[in-house]
């Protein structure tokens, strides 16, 4: 058993990935059996005893504990694996020990030992562990375990036999209160499937497997957003989340197809070698189309080709210098750009970047632990992860698109977050905005900065969401910030841990967010200094830092400081049970210290950052050497500037919502237009509805109407009337014509002998006439 792990220690990660799937399968089968036996629950007999054995009318709590336990085991394996990996990473040849791949399906006979591998012959499954995936794996499992534990308490209502959902009564008023059975087990069922899909996505070594995980996390998100599916708003949000993500996935598919068709593989490492061989220091080589590979000169203009290199790792003989590989093909450069854009579109959808960000705030309809796990810490970060993972596949043009997308998103979402009053929506827009920071960092070559922010953000945003969950739980499902206030008294643990989260996200020094955000702003400044025309890429995140400080402190002050604004809410408010506050404390510890290094006051010394640096692709290093150098030079300036701006924002929030020096209402009245614009979220939803959704649905109904006329009534006979306006009618008309013709001809068959004789005589005369005419013509011709 241990040998099996020794041979390829990465198998630890496979086991850790499959554990949640095991929990999912067990819960699924148990639930199916229970529901199958439910109709017989009153009748006695075997089915009935199975039903009562599986918990009877109450949801089975054991399933939830099992799922949580397996998740904890998975986290323990991940942490152990991380330690093992870090110790092993210094040894030579470790990459081969931490990666395996098998064929999933293939076409054609398997290649013999001496055959050259055929391109595009097999789709594979495989894993590859490097620093990035090992760290993220540990992060996801640890945060996941904490959230599973938190959910044990937060979802306790669902463990009851009967749950009343007042939100349903509010949205669909009907006589009587709506009540349903509890869904404790089902929640952990979905959560386990999600954990499996997310971990699968992280360890995948090829784009196909990433796509599989990509869609699976999407469907888990669908079911969890729609967990309270009796509420029409939740059902709508679930659909919106899935369909908007599918738009991104369509782009991702195009990216996959281009890679498959032009590069012949989906393995990320092989793809990298195809376009940026190690010997070329991670740069792309472009050439004139049609020119022989030997004379390829680097050129930089539209219409050029990208040279491709063998996918196999170059064979090294010890003692010989590595020779640059020979190109073995080429592809149009525009196609390469299209591939990058396609993959990035997938990331845009998953990471809720403009223009596909609209689903994330609506996804807050799901239970709060879901928002913390899926819509803050892990799933939405998958887009950023993939950009980091597939970084070598992005042309410089695509990276610029990524940077601008990130910059636009971080700014737009931050402005919307300023005026939201639902505690979870503030956090949702803040998530969009922080993901924008990460995208921006990756786009400007700050690979480490972006992914470091991914990790730190996961901890403090999970903390903030769980904190808000604790607030919501304590206030009996009140989410409106305007009704809160003064909750510091009854909810001290929640308030203090959330304050840690607020400080971390605002970039207060020595909190984890400081290290990562500092690096991002420095990278952006360095990029802006090298490319003066893109200075906006520095200004937007700088302004964003101020906005972040403002809206986060606004949230905290509105919830916890000042006087209670709603006596009813405040009166009933209580601190949450231990099972919920404990994860908060643990996450708070991580939010402070996860990025520390030695010395702690040097943002560049973050230990986590150094670890991530070890898996930075060459494509993010060599081509960005100048920018990195500039960023290093101006690091202090950038850091101070960001801190000052964030302080300004926080101070303004304190003045408005704590000390009440400035009256928010006055400002609101002063800039009513801007306020309304932000309240309506820049009108994205309205525009999409008018420009995309409604036309599509309209077109669908028009197509349905043009296809077939709806048939009413029981008339069961071939239609008599012609209907030339629908496709079905047109085709039917062919039959109707034949039918009509037949009916018409039938009238000729009168059955009266005289008529037939006349017709016969006329025909004979006619024929004779024709014969005569023909013969006379023939004789005349002679």
């Amino acid at each position: 058993m241990l040998d099996w792990f020794e041979a390829a220690p990465g198998r630890l990660y496979v086991v850790a990935t499959l554990l949640p799937l095991g929990a999912f399968a067990l819960l699924l089968v148990a639930g199916a059996v229970k529901n199958l036996c439910r109709p017989a629950r009153q009748e006695g007999g075997r089915a009935s005893s199975v039903y009562w054995l599986l918990g009877g009318d109450h949801p089975l709590r054991a399933g939830a504990y099992l799922a949580t336990a397996l998740m904890a085991v998975s986290a323990a394996l991940a942490v152990g694996g991380l330690v093992w990996f870090l110790r092993d990473a210094d040894q030579s040849g470790h990459a081969a020990r931490w990666a395996e791949r098998v064929e999933w399906v293939r076409v054609g006979p398997p290649a013999g030992p001496h055959d050259a591998p055929r391109p595009a012959a097999a789709l594979e499954l495989g894993y590859r562990i490097d620093h990035l995936s090992a760290i993220l794996f540990a992060m996801v499992t640890v945060v996941g375990t904490l959230i599973f534990v938190f959910s044990l308490g937060y979802m306790a209502d669902e463990a009851g036999q009967r749950v009343e959902d007042h939100e349903v009564d509010r949205q669909t008023p009907r006589p009587g209160h709506f009540a349903r059975r509890g869904r404790y087990g089902r929640f952990f069922l979905y959560l386990s499937l999600f954990a499996f899909s997310m971990l699968n996505l992280l360890i995948a070594d090829n784009l196909f497997q990433v796509f599989v995980g990509w869609e699976l996390v999407g469907v888990c998100s669908f079911f969890l957003v729609g967990f309270f599916y009796e509420r029409p708003s939740a059902a709508r949000a679930a659909n919106k989340a899935f369909i908007v993500n599918r738009v991104g996935d369509a782009g991702f598919l195009v990216g996959i197809f281009v890679a498959w068709s032009a590069l012949g593989t989906l393995n990320i490492e092989e793809l990298t070698r195809r376009v940026r061989p190690e010997a070329n220091a991670g740069t792309l080589t472009r050439a004139d189309p049609g020119s022989p590979a030997e004379s390829a000169r680097p050129i930089d203009r539209p219409g050029s080709d990208l040279l491709l290199y063998p996918a196999a790792a170059p064979a090294h003989r010890p003692g010989e210098p590595a020779r640059p590989p020979e190109p073995d093909g080429s592809m149009p450069y525009t196609l390469f750009v299209l591939m990058g854009l396609g993959i990035f579109l997938g990331c845009v959808g998953k990471s809720a970047q403009i223009p596909l960000h609209t689903w994330l705030p609506d996804a807050m309809e799901g239970p709060t632990p879901v928002s913390a796990l899926i819509h803050a810490a892990t799933m939405v970060a998958a887009g950023v992860y993939l950009v980091g993972r597939a970084f070598p596949l992005f042309a410089p043009e695509v990276l610029l698109v990524i940077a601008y997308t990130g910059a636009a998103t971080l700014f737009v979402s931050a402005t919307i977050a300023l005026v939201q009053t639902d505690i979870k929506r503030v956090l949702a827009y803040s998530t969009c905005s922080q993901l924008g920071y990460m995208m921006l960092a990756l786009g400007v070559g700050g690979w480490v900065a972006g992914l470091l922010h991914l990790v730190t953000h996961a901890f403090f945003k999970a903390l903030l969401f769980l904190g808000s969950g604790s607030v919501i739980h304590g206030c009996h499902h009140e989410q409106d910030l305007r009704k809160m206030g003064g909750l510091f008294g009854p909810m001290k643990v929640t308030a203090l841990t959330m304050l840690v989260g607020v400080l971390a996200i605002s970039g207060a020094p020595f909190f984890s967010g400081w290290y990562s955000k500092d690096q991002i702003i420095a990278s952006a400044l360095g990029y802006g200094l090298v490319h003066k025309e893109h200075v906006l890429l520095f200004l937007l995140p700088l302004v964003g830092a101020g906005l972040t400080g403002f809206y986060m402190f606004r949230l905290w002050f509105l919830a916890f400081a000042g006087r209670p604004r709603d006596e009813h809410v405040h009166h009933h408010a209580h601190e949450s049970p231990r099972v919920m506050t404990l994860p908060l404390v643990v996450l708070a510890v991580f939010s402070v210290g996860v990025a520390w290094g030695s010395p702690p006051w040097d943002a560049d010394a973050s230990y986590l950052g150094h670890l991530l640096h070890d898996s930075e692709p060459a494509a993010a290093d060599v081509p960005f050497a100048e920018e990195h150098h500039e960023a290093h030079e101006v690091h202090l300036v950038a850091g101070v500037a960001a801190l000052v701006v964030a302080l300004l924002g926080a101070g303004l929030a304190a003045a408005m919502y704590w000390r009440s020096v400035i009256d928010p209402a006055a400002i609101r009245n002063h800039v009513g237009g801007v306020y309304a614009f932000l309240r309506r979220k820049w009108y994205f939803d309205e525009v999409y509805d008018a420009a995309v959704v409604n036309p599509t649905v309209g077109l669908a109904f028009a197509a349905a109407a043009a296809d077939k006329r709806p048939t009413d009534g029981p008339a069961d006979a071939p239609p008599r009337r012609f209907d030339l306006l629908t496709l079905d009618g047109l085709l039917t008309a062919v039959g109707q014509l034949a039918d009509t013709a037949g009916r018409g001809l039938r009238t000729v068959q009168t059955g009266r002998l005289r008529g037939y004789v006349v017709a016969l005589a006329l025909t004979v005369v006619l024929l004779l006439g024709m014969l005569w005419g023909l013969t006379s013509q023939a004789s005349g011709g002679r």
Binding site: R106, P109, F178, F257, A703, A704, A717
Partner: protein
């Protein structure tokens, strides 16, 4: 003593018909016994088909290719096995213990019609799908109360027709079975259907007959071709001897020169078609004579000689004879391909010839809808794979882009119209149009040379899509049937809130909905992905609409999901959960949807060598 594989395959085809005959012996009151009898019959057929799979796989696995690899031996391809069998038969070599899963007995000697059956991965996988869906459809038929005897007999007869069509290697036999299955379906819709059943049944028959007429014309046209250089030369000598006896004024040598051999054999006609393609595309020089009775090209043999003529044939004379025939003209090829394509495409169905499908589905009783969607539509796709493409490869390759376009139009149009439906069953019917479009697109993605494996992905995807659609569509029609039994309507806008009273039903439906939507890990994803991978390589202009359709598909299915399962509705609150019988139908479908999605190799391992061989045969024709 006949060959064992003849017995197995004949039993597989005619066992349902035998059970249908057995139904006649039951007293009219023994309704429940008739149901069990039919269930027993379909279960037996299902077991038989699985036995044939085992036998076929053993054959595949024990024959190794030149490199010592199993399963991909060129001689285990259907064409090679058929050639070898024909050659053995012509030489009178006994074949009692043949394990080649090909059999041929003269049926109507005067017209060269044979009773020829054979399986390869393509036909056998669809045959298993047929037996499975029919078995589950009989389980789903328990609620049918009117004229049970006739109903069950017709279902069984239908199964014989479909299985015969899948297993037939003789065009005429295929046509007979193809028509045999038409009538039971007509009666099943017309007698046991809903309110407008007669119109729906009439429409079904008229559309399908229109297609059949095209196939019949093509069949006669192809029979007119002289294929004497493609069949075993002993057979030519035999026919020459007959000619000599009938017409003593001819010398034996003259008779040998003059004799013409006509055939309905798919394999022989396919050889002639491929030869015509080489001639018409100016690659006459690649035509060659086989050294052994059975020789097949390997993947990658793209520019070498194509050995189509039978051993002993004279290459120059054969080419001259071929070129002198009308079959070797573009017009004839286009006409044949057009007739065959339209004939089978009606069944697929393609837009705009799909109009019969929604009516038939809406009116047919649930189990008949299951068979219609799960099995009958597959005959269209199978006909394209087995008949239209291999027999008229030149026209198929010339028209490949347009065929692909037809597929894409079906995909997008079906999805759009499905989105505009309010009737649950109609929505599913149009989603069938959309999903079957992928089959046409995958077949059409004709890439040759070093990119032939992309086409192989496409054809594999098309076949897999047929299997996956067979599972999800049958299951979803049953899903509608279940809810129709409770609500007595199918109006999407009047459902809602089903998740709470029927969690098991909803969970199983969720698996099937998402499988139909193409979620990874479920069966619908696999085929669609492969088809789109091939389509992108073939023509991005065709692939992009197909890719965009995944958004539409998610749109209409999730919208339907939202209207049926989400929300609250007092009317559905007291619906009973699935009964054990209903669960017994849905659970196998859901399990298969997951199994095929996670581990497609469970069928791919024995279907894929056949598809690869099919692609190797055709891709080699266009370097």
């Amino acid at each position: 003593m006949p060959e064992t594989d003849l017995i197995w395959m004949t039993a597989l085809v005619f066992l349902p018909a035998a059970f249908a005959a057995g139904l006649l012996l039951f007293p009219a009151r023994w309704v429940e016994a008739m149901r069990w009898w039919a269930l027993f019959g379909t279960a037996g057929t299902l077991s038989l088909s699985l036995c044939v799979v085992v036998g076929y796989y053993a054959m595949l696995d024990t024959r190794v290719d030149a490199g010592g690899q199993p399963r991909y031996a060129a001689l285990s391809r259907l064409e090679a096995r058929a050639d070898q069998a024909a050659s053995d038969a012509a030489r009178g070599i006994p074949r009692y213990l043949a394990d080649d899963w090909v059999t041929r007995r003269p049926w109507v000697d005067r017209f060269d019609i044979d009773y020829a059956l054979g399986v390869d991965g393509i036909s056998l996988s669809l045959a298993v799908l047929t037996t499975l869906v029919t078995f589950l459809a009989v389980v789903a038929s328990w609620k049918i109360d009117t004229s049970v005897r006739g109903y069950l007999a017709l279902i069984l007869l239908l199964e014989t027709g479909v299985l015969g069509a899948f297993l037939a290697l003789d065009f005429f036999l295929f046509y007979v079975f193809y028509e045999v299955m038409l009538l039971p379906m007509y009666v099943l819709i017309g007698l046991w259907g809903g309110g407008r059943r007669r119109l729906a049944a009439l429409k079904f028959v008229l559309y399908t007959l229109l297609g059949s007429v095209g196939i019949l014309v093509a069949l006669i046209g192809l029979y007119s071709a002289d294929v004497r250089d493609f069949v075993d030369q002993e057979e030519v000598k035999r026919q020459a001897a007959i000619l000599h006896r009938a017409n003593p004024s001819l010398t034996e040598a003259d008779a040998l020169q003059k004799v013409e051999v006509h055939s309905f054999d798919f394999v022989t006609l396919g050889k002639a078609g491929r030869a015509v393609m080489l001639v018409l595309s100016g690659q006459e020089s690649r035509l060659a004579v086989r050294a052994k009775p059975a020789e097949e090209p390997l993947p990658g043999d793209d520019t070498g000689p194509v050995k189509l003529f039978a051993p002993g044939a004279n290459r120059e004379e054969a080419i001259a004879r071929l070129k002198a025939q009308p079959i070797c003209t573009p017009a004839f090829q286009y006409l044949m391909f057009g007739l065959l394509f339209v004939g089978f495409a009606v069944k697929v169905p393609i837009v705009p010839l799909h109009s019969w499908l929604p009516d038939a589905h809406v009116e047919a009783p649930t189990p008949v809808s299951m068979i219609l969607a799960g099995v009958l539509l597959k005959l269209g796709g199978y006909g394209l794979i087995r008949v239209a493409f291999p027999i008229c490869p030149w026209a198929a390759s010339e028209l490949a882009w347009y065929v692909g376009l037809v597929g894409v139009v079906g995909i997008v149009y079906g999805a759009l119209v499905a989105m505009g439906q309010t009737d649950f069953k109609k929505l599913l019917a149009y989603s069938s149009v959309s999903h079957m479009g992928f089959v046409v697109l995958g077949l059409a993605a004709w890439s040759a040379g070093s990119r032939a494996q992309y086409w192989a992905w496409g054809v594999n995807g098309a076949l897999f899509q047929m299997l996956a659609h067979g599972i999800t569509a049958s299951a979803l029609f049953f899903v509608v049937g279940v809810i129709y039994d409770r609500a007595h309507h199918r109006d999407l806008n009047r459902f809602g809130g089903l998740y709470e009273p029927m969690p098991l039903y909803s969970g199983l439906s969720a698996v099937l909905f998402f499988a139909s939507m193409g979620l990874p890990g479920l069966c619908g994803f696999v085929g669609e992905l492969w088809v789109m991978m091939a389509a992108w390589n073939f023509s991005p202009a065709l692939a992009v609409p197909a890719v965009l359709s995944v958004i539409l598909t998610a749109g209409y299915l999730l919208w339907a999901w939202q209207r049926v399962y989400f929300g609250t509705n007092p009317e559905t609150r007291s619906f009973p959960e699935l009964s054990a019988r209903e669960a017994a139908v849905l659970v196998p479908f859901a399990v298969l949807a997951i199994l095929l999605g996670v581990w497609p190799n469970v069928v791919m391992s024995w279907t894929e060598p056949s598809v690869t061989g099919w692609v190797a045969n055709l891709a080699a024709l266009r370097p």
